[in-house]
């Protein structure tokens, strides 16, 4: 029983008699809106920028991303703002095109991993031990395998393709999401509103979707953002090893790899894709921090 004064809540009104005290409306509380901190604004802008590039970048590209021409590994110029790559292709156009793969693949994989993980987590929390135990041990087994090694094994066994990359990322990142969703859901099942729903005769699906999911939303979104970042890095790493998106297509990771020869000269062809990966992941992280801050503020 905590009897504390919540900051921001106005003091109770003097009751005329006992009965009217708590029927009086507490003075209208303005819905508290956490202000956007400067870092959160930067994060939001970066994420918005990269989403925009991923959606419309192809049409903005000044050149055909695979068209050859110009000098090899040239610097910044009016014709090629971000220079050219090791085959003389326009780097700006290649980044605008490659962002589609990096952002798109990572987003699809992250959403799938989190949807699957949360779904299984809720199922485990709401079912008895007969479902929870085998499922959790299976997930433990998956967690125990390092995701990069698993990915390498899968690529060497099946060859690299876009669907395989997605499956690989989903397999790698579902277990973590499952763990988080399950523990969140386990805490919620003990709460009284969930118990009341059970004694109302509600089904598991209703309890999971209507009663529990809305109260897990923020942590799960934060988790989604984090996993998106991990997947971007995983895919970029795979591409850097030459096992990710295959030529003629290229994601940001492949761009860094194919132009690695320009690193000694500081060629924009290698710096710019790396910077792109950096800004994307940093942007998402800054935005996630804002969600976290809002959760703390709401308590």
């Amino acid at each position: 029983m905590t009897r504390s004064v919540t900051p921001g809540r106005a003091a109770p009104v003097l009751p005329v008699d006992g009965k009217t005290l708590d029927t009086q409306l507490s003075p209208a509380r303005t819905r508290r809106r956490a202000r956007w901190s400067p870092t959160a604004i930067i994060g939001g802008l970066l994420v918005a920028f990269w989403l925009f590039i991923a959606l419309f970048g192809v049409w903005l590209a000044p050149y055909d991303p695979s068209a050859l021409g110009g000098a090899v590994l040239s610097g910044y110029s009016a014709a090629h703002p971000l220079g050219t790559d090791y085959l003389g292709r326009d780097v700006l156009s290649r980044i605008l095109d490659g962002a589609r793969f990096t952002v798109g693949l990572a987003l699809i994989a992250a959403v799938l991993a989190c949807a699957l993980g949360s779904g299984l987590g809720l199922l485990a929390a709401l079912s008895g031990r007969w479902v929870d135990e085998p499922l959790s041990r299976l997930i433990d087994a998956l967690i125990s395998m390092p995701s990069k090694i698993t990915a390498l094994v899968m690529v060497s066994a099946f060859g690299s393709s876009v669907p395989l990359l997605i499956v690989m990322a989903v397999v790698g990142y579902t277990p973590g999401c499952y763990r988080i969703a399950r523990s969140l859901a386990m805490n919620l099942t003990e709460l009284e509103y969930v118990q009341v729903a059970r004694t109302r005769g509600e089904g598991r699906l209703y309890i999971a979707v209507v009663e529990m999911l809305p109260n897990m939303r923020l942590p799960l979104l934060t988790d989604l953002g984090l996993r998106f970042v991990y997947i971007v890095l995983l895919l970029s790493g795979m591409s850097f090893l030459g096992l990710g998106v295959q030529p003629p297509n290229a994601d940001l990771g492949s761009l860094v790899r194919e132009n690695i020869g320009g690193l000694a000269d500081g060629a924009p062809a290698v710096l710019m894709p790396a910077l792109a990966i950096g800004t994307l992941t940093v942007g998402v992280n800054l935005l996630i921090d804002r969600f976290g801050a809002r959760r703390r503020g709401a308590r």
Partner: protein, 614 residues
């Protein structure tokens, strides 16, 4: 008289996120003479804890000590720097918190923690501090004072931990002690023991203390003067005896009235004698843990429960924490299938668990939980919360459902404009009303109320009780009303079941439970509720029984109250299970004593403080 503490025009403000400040303590002034005990009383949000903490120079996160002055002894508290505050806290001013369990570090031995502040402040050497702790343990009537300091916090009971916390506060011989709701989390039977030793120590040592509480009856025992607070303002500041005799402020009068709920008869409720039973429970046994060879769970929470609730009747269930009263509601609701026994609803047998119960059976029994904070989904609006049972149980069209939501809100005396709000935007009392409205939406026959008023302030709780009584009268609802507070139960129920450690020790009516003969546990429970007058505490006899000489055999259903019973018969109570019997007044009890003996034992004001030998 020398003024030890002087608080002048104290202002504390709360800062909201947009930077605006709301005052939560408004220009409060009071003085405290040496050796005086001042009570700060008020509801949640009245600023009583905030004021108490400001004497330590502390403001909670989001709050700021904005103005005024506080003098404790020779120290101006609000002018101290961080180092000065460190020297003040635990040395000049000591604090005893509500939850001792949360205040102790679970991984360190008690003695280490108790003498810590004396060592930090360098007032005593380790040897002196340990000797002093031992002396305090004796004064605080702790069992085995030589050894208790070597234990860990989880190895002592809640009441003992609270007393150990008092030892921690008193070890530096502070100028001022602040007790913040020190007995609120305890059972009444434990509370009386703790209050007794607190009072004794305060008087013998001449401690100057500030006692923060919401319970007027407790404060009446402890305080010389009472400061009534509401909304951060002082409404009244008078000597205890005068305040109790003639409260000036209407707010104080409403507090006094709420502390003494009206008995049932004065509420004009019909007492239905021969109503058809809504709920019948027979020989119920429920528990947790692995199932043993006898087909019963290892940890039995409830055993041998028989009860019957007629249509429109209210059965109260009381007992202290761990008595199994909440488990009873869970079993009836189907959340915990019983290991043995049957539950019948309107004559038909209910399936033990949730599986197999029909929608109609779900509808007829509704569960209302104690804590409205966790009983309402914070993500849903009030309308959505009330809409769901209407959709689930009734085939109303949308317009009817919306009308019903408004009717329900009206029924629980809430304005219809509340429908679009979320639970987080409501006050505690409003939430509890929505919680009730959701149960009413199903149009049930029986509502299981689990401590519905316990988390609320006295005045708000009394209003909820009025509402429950009104609903019962208008809708013919039956209640299973669970509470740890006997006066609450008395004011609402036709019959009362007293549980102790899962055994039903007594079943009677509120009227018959007021006079002897009673089951020894019921008697202890009734006698432990503080009365709203000074001097009550001193009149109460000490009822701690001597420990059992012979340890009882492990098997068999012996009386669960055996260890604590002040009138047990050695050689009988610890050998054979008690038999149910009906007393002359109509109460059914589970005890070896007959009515006449109990009457004789309880008739006098002084009960035997030791076991009676057979």
């Amino acid at each position: 008289m020398e003024l030890l503490v002087e608080v002048k025009d104290l202002r504390v403000v709360a800062q909201s996120q947009d930077g605006s400040e709301t005052p939560i303590v408004k220009d409060v002034s009071f003085n405290l003479a040496k050796g005086e005990v001042l009570a700060l009383i008020g509801e949640s949000g009245s600023g009583k804890t905030t004021i108490a903490l400001s004497l330590l120079g502390y403001a909670r996160e989001g709050c700021r000590l904005a103005g005024g002055s506080i003098r404790v002894g020779d120290t101006q508290v609000l002018e101290l720097d961080a180092g000065g505050l460190r020297r003040l806290r635990g040395r000049t001013v000591a604090y005893i918190a509500q939850s001792a369990a949360a205040a102790f570090n679970p991984s360190r031995r008690l003695l280490e923690q108790i003498i810590e502040s004396a060592l930090i402040h360098g007032v005593l050497t380790r040897r002196e501090a340990e000797a002093r702790a031992l002396q305090l343990f004796k004064e605080l009537a702790l069992p085995d004072p030589e050894q208790i300091g070597r234990r860990y916090p989880h190895q002592v009971s809640g009441g003992q931990l609270q007393r150990l916390m008092a030892a921690m506060a008193l070890i530096t011989d502070p100028t001022l002690v602040i007790l913040d709701e020190p007995t609120t989390a305890l059972d009444v039977t434990t509370q009386i023991e703790v209050l007794r030793v607190f009072k004794q120590v305060v008087r013998e040592r001449g401690v100057t203390a500030i006692y923060v509480s919401h319970d007027l009856a407790v404060v009446a025992q402890m305080a010389d003067r009472i400061l009534v607070l509401n909304g951060g303002e002082v409404y009244e500041n008078r000597r205890t005896e005068r305040l109790l005799a003639s409260a000036r402020h209407p707010y104080t009068r409403s507090l006094l009235a709420a502390a003494q709920p009206e008995p049932l008869a004065e509420r004009g409720l019909p007492t239905v004698e021969t109503a058809a039973p809504v709920l019948e429970v027979k020989d119920l046994l429920a528990g947790y843990g692995p199932i043993g060879a006898d087909g019963l769970p290892r940890y039995r929470v409830l055993e041998g429960i028989d009860l019957r609730i007629g249509a429109g009747q209210a059965l109260g269930v009381i007992g202290e924490s761990g008595s199994g009263k909440s488990t009873l509601a869970r079993v009836i609701a189907g959340l915990l299938p019983p290991a043995q026994g049957s539950v019948r609803l309107g004559g038909e047998l209910l399936p033990p668990g949730l599986d197999g119960r029909t929608r109609e059976q779900f509808r007829r029994v509704q569960l209302v939980y104690q804590n409205a904070d966790t009983a309402l989904n914070p993500a849903h609006s009030v309308e959505r919360i009330l809409m769901r049972p209407l959709e689930t149980y009734h085939a109303f069209d949308k317009a009817t459902r919306q009308r019903k939501v408004r009717e329900l809100l009206d029924r629980v005396q809430l304005p219809a404009s509340l429908a679009s709000r979320r639970p987080g935007e409501l006050s505690g009392g409003q939430k509890q009303r929505v919680n009730l409205a959701r149960a009413l939406a199903a149009e049930p026959e029986l509502i299981l109320c689990d401590e519905v008023t316990s988390a609320l302030d006295t005045v708000v709780g009394a209003a909820i009780l009025d509402l429950l009584a009104e609903l019962r009268r208008d809708l013919g609802l039956a209640y299973l009303f669970i509470s740890h507070d006997i006066s609450t139960v008395r004011s609402l129920c036709d019959e009362v079941l007293v549980l102790y450690a899962g055994q039903p020790v007594e079943l009677g009516t509120p009227a018959t439970l007021q006079h002897p003969p009673l089951h020894p546990y019921t008697e202890l429970l009734t006698a432990s509720v503080p009365a709203l007058r000074q001097g009550w505490l001193e009149e109460q006899p000490i009822r701690t029984p001597v420990p059992l000489v012979s340890s009882p055999p492990a098997s068999g259903r012996l009386c669960s109250f055996l260890q604590r019973c002040p009138v047990r018969l050695e050689g009988r109570c610890d050998r054979t299970p008690p038999r149910p019997q009906t007393l002359a007044g109509g109460n059914r009890i589970l005890c070896h004593h007959d009515g006449e003996t109990l009457q004789r034992l309880q008739g006098g004001t002084v009960l035997h403080s030791q076991g009676v030998r057979a």
